[in-house]
Symmetry: C2
Subunit: 345 residues, 2 copies
Amino acid sequence: MRLAVLAHGKFPDDAKTAVGLLRYGDHDVAAVLDRDLADGRSDAAAGARVSDYLPDVQDAPVVAGIDDVPEIDALVIGIAPIGGGFDESWRDDVRGALSRGCDVWSGLHYFLSEDEEFARLADEHGCELWDVRRPPADLTVAEGVARDLDATIVTTVGTDCSVGKMTATLELLEAARDAGLNAGFVPTGQTGIMIEGWGIPIDRTISDFTAGAVERMLVERAAEYDYLLVEGQGSIVHPAYSAVTCGILHGSMPDHLVLCHEAGREVVHGYEAFDLLEPGAAAALYESLAEPVHPAEVVGGAVNTAGIADDGAAREALADFGDAIDAPATDPVRFDADDLVEAIR
Amino acid sequence: MRLAVLAHGKFPDDAKTAVGLLRYGDHDVAAVLDRDLADGRSDAAAGARVSDYLPDVQDAPVVAGIDDVPEIDALVIGIAPIGGGFDESWRDDVRGALSRGCDVWSGLHYFLSEDEEFARLADEHGCELWDVRRPPADLTVAEGVARDLDATIVTTVGTDCSVGKMTATLELLEAARDAGLNAGFVPTGQTGIMIEGWGIPIDRTISDFTAGAVERMLVERAAEYDYLLVEGQGSIVHPAYSAVTCGILHGSMPDHLVLCHEAGREVVHGYEAFDLLEPGAAAALYESLAEPVHPAEVVGGAVNTAGIADDGAAREALADFGDAIDAPATDPVRFDADDLVEAIR
């Protein structure tokens, strides 16, 4: 599939989905829509490019709107404003894409398929509106069978939300495949689902069905893969999101855990009155909580060290983290994920 | 309000909502509908009564259908079949109630307000269809403020689901009020919500909003009460429902925990391949999980000893449980909840 990714005013720093698709997706990205970046260029002929901002992902032109986009199969809403609403300034782009016969993918809380104009245009032009954040209607409670599956299940957990669990999972996936392991990805959030083209948005399921939704994905994929890498969410001591974390932990019944962290983070992101647990205490708590359902150990750590300029200092931070959790730790983006592959095999 | 409670074929043993309303509700119950019990009586003139089956709750006649029910304000669906569907054999009763101008309360997954006939009848006769299991549409993520509220918050937690957390909470409420405490109830499930006439069905919220929904209830009630008693759900190591439990724990940020258990239970109800934690280990795990968000200790145990015939043996089981959790334990139904009141004040 050829995609265009809408990220007006947010690319690249606040465009997690756009950057995820550029970095980890199998799809060709034909253009990124960011009218601020496109208009801000004095040399319009040369044009802004993704590589001006992110050197290590697939390159694409940055354009002002859908009229500047070459032939594509789908337009993706690649940003998620707080609250998840639809910004009316994007309507022309979505309208233009549908009128050209392109599908539109969205991870917004606002469902495009319930927008009267978009539904009508999609119908007229034979396009699909994929609201990634809408869970299947037929979810149910877990049966408690994930621990009986043949695949080795690895779940990423975190000291906090927004520490890089999706990134760590996808880096581990790539490294595992490079090492010859037959590994599959189990996405639980909107960006992961768009990258994989499949999955259930676990934070949007009915709370009684949280574990059941994770279990359903694992059951569906277990025959196909020897290793299933489950994207975790939130943290088990997060004041708002721990329910989601707990449902993923017990629904996935992992054999191994990988603990994710951002170096230097000491308080909960967005809830600064709450301290994070020390890494060792966090690892122990995840293990205690997993154990009665299916025993799992933290076999490795994945630490985002982007905030540490010096490679040597980053390696020191990783060594400290590894000591604290009594397992190897790496920054899979800055360095590599080989130690994590060894730890799960 | 005067209620009639529908419990066809299930009264009293499988009619948790009906029995809850009879035992703990402030409403007068004018009749219980159970056609099997009503028809099974040889002496139709005398008629079956609730007191034939449950001596310790408010009494009412047991009748075969809505036509035998005296004047009421609302008909309550007092049973919840597995799956939560609507049994078509109840349609005449609901139709009859609405035609008489009565409201209908339901805790089914099947929403009566989305049933075309019921919606039309309710509209024609000016009645309300209260689908207790439908959460408010405007829920959102927790702000993390429950720990800052003035009220003392007590949350019931369990070694398993279906061990009597609602019952323990309501018995503690009554005992606390008898002792002069200004205590309020925070229901999280359908039966508790019907008893209280207010509340949010936490197991039906979007998983991201689980803690937020609990927090909203506490914020709403904190000005009114010195003590808020939160009805827990499930168990933190339940293979299917732990997400709900975790959301309630962190959303309520309790000052004290009361650990509920059924004497003799050793495996997870309905998931018999999973062992329960020992009571002491369960208490420690709840405390470890609460601590990073807001420290809380298990200050008492509430054990359902109905399966133990002898009072002396029941007291021994309670003493053992108390030793294991290092706090006083009681069966608040069989004996009293005075020790629990002492523990939270």
